[in-house]
């Protein structure tokens, strides 16, 4: 999707019609510039409203849907004089996608009723013009939603259209958000089809397995019966896990809703915000602990050897003693002594008679050399034990470091949880009845999430066990068929479907793993180019987890996401988005815009300049909604010199308190945008 124009009519601060044309191609940067309150976020809102029909943005969390007015206030005031008169506001977006031109138009109607202002959605239309000139008009909201879902997945919309100051939330998403985002990313990587294909094969496989069970006899019939029963049980587990996930999602949404209500109560707003922050930190630490737990499992497993170090040492020392004495390996080979005794001749040719001291000595040597295989085994054991003993220090120190790291994280988690419970208790002490009621509901919902999460974990473990049993039964079925020479068509069908399903699962796993690794490597490289010189050496790599949540590792292998600044989180999130876009486009530029409100608010000057230098090369289109404190003359000059800056719009207030959109040249921008004041960075 490449944005071409956005036309707004009587929308928010903008009275009448205004059109913005977005730069794309070689000069792919558009700046929409305005001081605070001029309507930059109104433009962002217009885009989101037009694309998805959303009246609210993520930053509107404290506002009721009814309180968000989309129709221009001035136009509404004028209409108040004429009874029954309505005012129409609308947004029209044109964009190109896969060689087709899309025109999406959405309107909303404002009216007064009993002295109160009301707004309702009026209509949405979409027209798709194909390269051959044919045009498809759509008027049904559901079909339009479906069609737009193919252009931009709603679940990853915030990856491309976002508030710069909020994008760091990408690194702090809840479990439910992570699941949704993960689905969106899979769609972006175009592997949804693979999942549908796998499910379809599973379905077909089940049908064939039932047919096979009916026709089989004896041991094979019993195996097929167990296999089908286990598969059915696994499906039940899957359904239960999905139902629990839906319950958790519902409870999490309820918690979010209650948080919004609680926030509105002055006095506890701050506490609720503090709780939110603590919950975010706890989520970060819990996530980091998952990584550390995996390392602990690996390293602590190796420390088991330390428990039997005493007997290991004793055996080692005994063999060592014998080795030093020359008993292991024996100085004289057993076959040589045996030959001398049977030939009764010394190696010098002298005869050895029975009963002589030489004969007695040879007999004694023969007794001592013992079994050569045993001697070789002892020597091999001596080498292994020597290796184990030499690793003792490393194993001990690795385990200690990892356990200490885990302990530190655990203490930190405990501390945060204690703080959380204090804050929660304080919120509960609030005197207002409704707040107490909401807090009680919130606690119940939280308890439900905890209970259902534990239940999910239990079911997942049982499912894994069942999975192993199914694999075992499948192997048994194949073995039995081979043994009995069963090669009928029904069995061949079932085997083929099962093999194809397993192949798709393996291929999907390999593909997503590779994609995650590529995204992580690329994101790390981008992140380093966005960071200032002082910070570049601090981080080793960005890690993309299975659910596409992010982690960052320092040079000592520690996960440090919880401790980096909000600006660094913002850069990290942008690096991830750019990398994801590149992977989704197989190394090319993904034809998607990056539409950023307050792009630089949290960034230092150096970081801003680095983004300006690099980001236009990493995305097909960059649209910035910037205020005068974040885009100053130094940033503007840098952008101008990059030769990527295509269009510049200024939002200017009118005497009536509304806003007009004024297009100016990028050269003009350099004089219109103010110099930074002394002391500003």
């Amino acid at each position: 999707m490449i944005l071409e124009t956005l036309t707004i009519n009587n929308f928010r601060q903008f009275r009448g019609k205004s059109t913005l044309r977005f730069a794309h191609g070689k000069k792919n940067v558009t700046v929409i510039f305005g001081e605070n309150g001029r309507g930059k976020t109104g433009i962002f809102r217009a885009l989101i409203f037009c694309l998805f029909g959303d009246r609210q943005l993520s930053q509107d969390e404290l506002v009721d849907d009814r309180e968000v007015h989309l129709v221009n206030n001035g136009a509404m005031r004028d209409s108040q004089q004429e009874k029954g008169r309505t005012v129409e506001a609308g947004v029209e977006l044109t964009f190109k996608h896969n060689d087709c031109r899309y025109t999406l138009r959405r309107t909303v109607q404002g009216l007064w009723h009993n002295g109160e202002r009301h707004e309702e959605g009026k209509e949405v239309t979409l027209s798709i013009e194909r390269p051959d000139g044919n045009c498809t008009p759509l008027r049904d909201p559901e079909s339009i939603k479906e069609m737009m879902g193919l252009v931009i997945d709603y679940r990853v919309r915030e990856y491309f259209l976002f508030d710069g100051e909020k994008i760091e939330h990408l690194t702090r998403a809840s479990q439910h958000q992570r699941t949704e985002v993960s689905k969106g990313v899979r769609n972006l990587l175009n592997i949804d089809g693979l999942e549908i294909a796998t499910k379809a094969l599973k379905h077909v496989g089940k049908e064939f397995a039932k047919e096979l069970e009916k026709s089989a006899t004896g041991e094979l019939a019993r195996t097929m019966k167990r296999l089908n029963e286990s598969t059915a049980k696994r499906d039940t587990f899957d359904e239960q896990i999905a139902a629990l996930a839906a319950d958790i999602q519902k409870a999490e949404e309820e918690i979010e809703d209650l948080e919004k209500k609680l926030k509105k109560h002055r006095g506890i707003t701050e506490l609720v915000e503090q709780r939110e922050r603590l919950n975010g930190q706890i989520r970060d630490i819990e996530h980091e602990m998952q990584d550390v737990r995996a390392v602990v499992r690996d390293k602590v497993a190796r420390t088991a050897i330390l428990l039997c170090l005493d007997p290991i040492r004793s055996v080692y020392e005994d063999i060592e003693k014998r080795r030093k004495k020359g008993e292991i390996p024996p100085e004289i080979r057993q076959d040589l002594i045996e030959r001398l005794l049977s030939e009764r001749k010394c190696i010098c040719g002298r005869e050895i008679r029975s009963g002589t001291p030489e004969h007695t000595q040879l007999k004694e040597w023969l007794r001592r050399v013992g079994d050569p295989e045993l001697s070789d085994a002892a020597l091999e054991m001596w080498r292994s034990l020597s290796g184990i003993i030499s690793q003792e220090e490393t194993v001990r120190s690795n385990a200690e470091t990892t356990l200490q790291q885990f302990g530190r994280k655990n203490s930190e988690l405990e501390r945060l949880r204690r703080q959380l419970s204090t804050v929660t208790a304080k919120i509960g002490e609030d005197v207002r009845d409704d707040a107490i009621h909401w807090e009680g509901q919130r606690k119940k919902a939280e308890a439900a999430v905890r209970k259902k999460s534990v239940e999910t974990e239990r079911l997942e473990e049982m499912r894994q066990e069942l999975d192993a049993l199914i694999r075992q039964l499948e192997a048994q079925k194949v073995k039995l068929e081979k043994e009995r020479g069963i090669a009928n068509e029904m069995s061949a069908r079932h085997t083929l479907v099962e093999n194809a399903r397993q192949a798709l699962v393996a291929v999907a796993d390999a593909f997503t793993k590779e994609a995650r690794e590529t995204i992580a490597a690329q994101a790390t490289a981008y992140f380093q180019t966005f960071l200032d010189a002082d910070s570049q050496g601090l981080f080793d790599r960005i890690q993309v987890n299975n659910d596409y949540s992010l982690q960052i590792m320092d040079n000592h292998g520690n996960a440090v996401l919880a401790n980096i600044s909000a600006g660094q989180r913002q850069l990290m999130s942008i690096a991830f988005i750019a990398s994801l876009a590149k992977t989704a486009a197989d190394g090319d530029l993904l034809q998607m815009p990056l539409f950023m409100d307050t792009p630089f608010g949290r960034l230092s000057l150096d970081h801003r300049l680095r983004l300006i230098d690099n980001l236009p090369k990493l995305c097909a289109q960059w649209i910035l909604l910037a205020t005068d404190t974040e885009l100053r003359r130094s940033e503007a000059r840098h952008l101008y010199e990059s030769k990527r800056w295509g269009r510049f719009y200024r939002l200017v207030s009118t005497p009536g308190g509304e806003t007009e959109v004024e297009e100016r040249s990028t050269e003009d921008a350099l004089t219109l945008i103010r110099e930074e004041e002394e002391g500003e960075s």
Partner: protein
């Protein structure tokens, strides 16, 4: 957008031809129809045909 089928196709090359063939047809049907129930119905025919061909 990346042509995942190409990447998947390459990854499926290591599997025996009938497995590869069925897996690819399943993906193509999934991309065309979008729901596993309708894909499953058509896949049954594909499987029968592939098994007969193998014979």
């Amino acid at each position: 957008m990346q042509l995942v089928n190409e990447v998947i196709r390459r990854k499926l090359e290591k599997y025996p031809s009938p497995v590869q063939n069925l897996a690819l047809q399943a993906i193509m049907l999934a991309e065309k129809h979008g729901s596993d129930a309708s894909v499953a119905e058509q896949l049954k025919q594909v499987v029968r045909q592939l098994v007969r061909d193998k014979k």
